[in-house]
């Protein structure tokens, strides 16, 4: 089931919690607010990628992975790194090959594996999108002060550690 792209931006997951009446309601509200922020930002990024570059978020994410790995990645590397299932990665790669943004060649160390690399065109196109993306993100956090950004970064760092600990204990 895919997330909805744009329509969701106005939707507020916190309304989910309005009827809760248990003991940990504060943490539940916090989680739903975190989810709402992420969903809003992701939806807006998805919308602007399509509007300004006519690309999907998975395509952008895949090109970001390849941009970080000049030596290339196998399909299996990509599956592991991307925050999506590998179901459609083959299709994404096919389309990027067809548009001249990536190459696909047999690995020199493992002939059964294919290595995917950005072409120069692909890298230039990705950098253009990445610059715009970084500006959009800055824009979306623009109402936070410098201290606000730092404090939020620190608190989310503590959250990550806390979640990791809970996951290990489960």
């Amino acid at each position: 089931m895919d997330r909805l792209p744009d329509d969701i931006v106005q939707l507020d997951a916190e309304t989910f919690a309005s009827e809760g009446s248990q003991h940990h309601r504060e943490e539940l509200r916090l989680w739903l607010r975190l989810l709402t922020c992420t969903t809003m930002i992701e939806g807006e990024v998805r919308r602007r990628l399509r509007r300004d570059f006519d690309v999907t978020l998975p395509r952008f994410d895949l090109m970001a992975q390849l941009d970080k790995s000049p030596a290339g990645l196998t399909l299996s590397d990509i599956s592991k790194r991307m925050m999506v299932s590998n179901g459609n990665i083959t299709g994404l790669v096919d389309r990027l090959v067809a548009s001249g943004h990536v190459t696909r060649r047999a690995s020199e160390t493992d002939r059964r594996a294919q290595v995917i690399r950005l072409t120069e065109l692909g890298r230039a196109e990705f950098r253009r999108m990445a610059d715009a993306h970084e500006g959009w993100i800055a824009d979306m956090f623009a109402e936070l002060t410098r201290d606000g950004v730092d404090d939020l970064m620190a608190l989310l760092g503590r959250t990550k550690d806390s979640v990791r600990k809970a996951c290990c204990n489960a």
Copy 2:
């Protein structure tokens, strides 16, 4: 393209930003940390729902929507409220009808529309899952102090306002 369920919990989106060298790198890192936290928590919730109740996250989310609306919801209401596309909602509802957790009846005001409601069994089952879910979330935020929870809530509130403003201006 679906998000991966569990495997992702260890994956850290912040590594995406490690090579950035532009002007707004702090905000980009903040966004990736926010995304990482959300992905970790969502993945863990998905994993525990499956492990403890043998249900999927979309099924849980749909039951949560129905629990909040005792008068029932049409498929179209559900599409608007759920944070997923409506592609599989019909299938989800079919399975919930088959398992006796919801009913589907023609609307009294619009004969063409069908109204979906939780059965008593469905409500009891959802409440059991919701109680566990609330405990899991509390567990995942357990390492934050009370002040930490309050501060994070306030900062995410400012983030929501900031994102909303950026989206309106786009």
